[in-house]
Subunit: 383 residues, 2 copies
């Protein structure tokens, strides 16, 4: 959900955000601990600080170290746009967490939210939820430990009971403070926060977690969702549940640079998972904001400003090879490498990523979607 007063404009000071929200920095010792506990190198999004803040992630690791498992919860509001690379970030990271910790995962598709916020019908929202589910499944999740659900299908029973329990604990003034609703907003918006909150509680999923109501929940999300889940964390102990832990990412920047926002109304602000190789090439060459100098001569003399350079930023998300990234940054920053060459490298990396995603998505059948969305026990909960 969109948060009140949350306008991404100008450069974001993530340190200030951590202070303002009162969450914690994800420091090197925690990353080392993930490495040690999982026996795998930390994901590039951890190594490079994409996921940079958390709440109680240390407690999740404490419990894990004692032999207690947890479950993951993430989600998406299905929309008509094809997913862009920024949308993939939380799912790529969640897949890594699932593989590394061998834990169950619930993915909520808030088709009810999209139906209420946009001019979409119930039926169109449900259709989009299934389409988006295919993109999510294409990220490689393990069907034996992943439950994907749409709210229109799943709200009811234990889930609805928890919605009521949460709603009882949250005043209208509170949600106005978080989401900035006005009196002219419809009441569907006011009713929605509990829907997004309750997947944080294992008892919302009796077919998965019956007898495991004390299981902890870890939510990978972008940091703009922090005030939202702070509400969930405030409520949790009042209704007898653990507070969900959070692991929070910075924003994925628009092609136009850190100060832009990726927008569905401007297809040139982002790379979409449906873009052709030519579209990727053209968008990067034409629109990717560069920190390099105007001319070859000036570039060789002064080097690029890596702080604002979008090709370098995008590579730091998606080029897994640390040595290669370091080499590019060094050469480009010092002027020995030109913008053209860095963009060329990025075009290669993203074309490969998008083509791989397209192939994976094309292989996702309706039967597979049904399998992920079936209300069932998960055969490989913690193995």
């Amino acid at each position: 959900m969109e948060l009140a007063g949350w306008q991404v404009s100008g450069k974001i000071d993530y340190d200030k955000l951590i202070d303002k929200f009162g969450c914690q920095r994800l420091d090197q010792s925690l990353i080392d601990r993930v490495h040690r506990l999982t026996g795998r190198p930390p994901h590039v999004f951890l190594r490079r600080g994409v996921f940079f803040a958390h709440r109680d992630f240390n407690e999740i690791l404490d419990a894990y170290e004692r032999g207690d498992k947890f479950y993951l919860y993430t989600g998406r509001g299905p929309s008509s746009e094809a997913l862009h690379l920024g949308h993939l970030v939380p799912f790529m990271f969640t897949k890594y967490l699932q593989d590394a910790f061998k834990v169950p995962l619930v993915i909520q598709l808030t088709d009810d939210e999209k139906c209420m916020w946009k001019t979409l019908s119930v039926e169109e929202s449900q259709r989009l939820a299934r389409e988006n589910a295919k993109d999510i499944i294409a990220c490689g999740f393990d069907v034996t430990r992943t439950f994907i659900f749409s709210d229109f299908d799943y709200v009811g029973g234990a889930f609805y009971k928890n919605m009521v329990r949460v709603a009882k604990c949250v005043t209208y003034n509170k949600v106005v403070g978080i989401f900035g609703f006005t009196g002219e907003d419809h009441i569907g918006k006011v009713s929605f926060p509990p829907v997004q909150a309750v997947p944080s509680f294992p008892s919302s999923f009796p077919h998965l977690f019956s007898g495991k109501e004390n299981l902890r929940c870890l939510i990978p999300c972008a940091i703009d969702q922090d005030p939202y889940f702070r509400m969930t964390r405030d409520v949790a102990p009042r209704i007898g549940y653990h507070k969900p832990a959070l692991i929070e990412s910075s924003f994925f920047p628009a092609l136009q640079g850190d100060t832009g926002k990726m927008s569905a109304s401007d297809p040139n602000s982002a790379i979409y998972v449906t873009d052709t190789p030519k579209e990727i090439k053209d968008k990067i060459n034409r629109y990717a904001f560069t920190g390099g100098q105007d001319t070859k001569e000036k570039q060789m003399l002064y080097g690029a400003n890596l702080e604002v350079d979008i090709p370098v930023k995008y590579l730091s998300f998606f080029l897994d090879d640390d040595a290669e990234l370091d080499y590019i940054k060094q050469e480009y920053g010092s002027g020995r490498m030109l913008t053209f060459d860095v963009k060329k490298q990025l075009i290669e990396v993203l074309t490969e990523l998008v083509e791989r995603h397209k192939r994976a998505r094309a292989a996702v059948t309706d039967e597979m979607v049904d399998a992920f969305m079936a209300v069932r026990p998960l055969p490989s909960m913690f193995s």
Copy 2:
């Protein structure tokens, strides 16, 4: 639900209420039409003007006359108190309508509402819903055309989709105007109006009305619910549904008289279906407000003021014999009958009513509750 500014205090001018709400008076021609269409004498609550107002009831009768059926929707917020006689009124009348028109009936138990408004847990609200269901079943409903459901059990699927469709059409300001919520009220209250609205739409019950989405709905209720269902009627055409029709009753007065309110905190303000014959006798003799004179002599001289006399009012609800009631009113009003004798007659009538209810309720087994609440097609929809 409680409505904003709805304080029953002082004598209610029902004519003014009809004007204020903009509903219609249920006149003699409509009552005659019910008589003719159903081939039965109109229920005492129709003959005596207990149900006195309506919205589009004539359209229901038009459709019925053409051979189109309809369905009935009523409900109850389960509470810890035993039901009092006022609670029985809508159910007694609904049973009559079901029998007379041979139509299906849905009864909503808003255990979610009670959980949110009171300090009840989810589990306690659900337990009370089943207890109240037994009292409702004891009113004699036909299991082959009655579906009783609790929201905690039933919200989800098509019902939840309709909740979202309704919620999209109602602003926060609108519900504040109807229910008087404040910013410090919890958001569960704000979320509830669509839950009570959507049983008005046949598509909320796919197991009952699949293929009959155009079926009209008739809601018997007390007139204080009118503003509530006015909201539902405003929304209905915007989401492609018929407006539900209403047939509305006046209030059942407290023992202390028209200006009192029956209150759970004062057990002497009402006769409960659990009261013993002695309790009934004592309450009526001690607390029933009388329009009779202080002394036998004055009574014989001036007669009773029938307008304010509670025994006469109660008899006009529950003494079915028109000739007998007329006789009592004539004799008592003219002073030839004493308060004591009228109260004695009322004690007899109510004791019989309550004892009959107790016997019927004692015969309601858990299996019968399960049968009424099973999500199933109704075998005798319109026969």
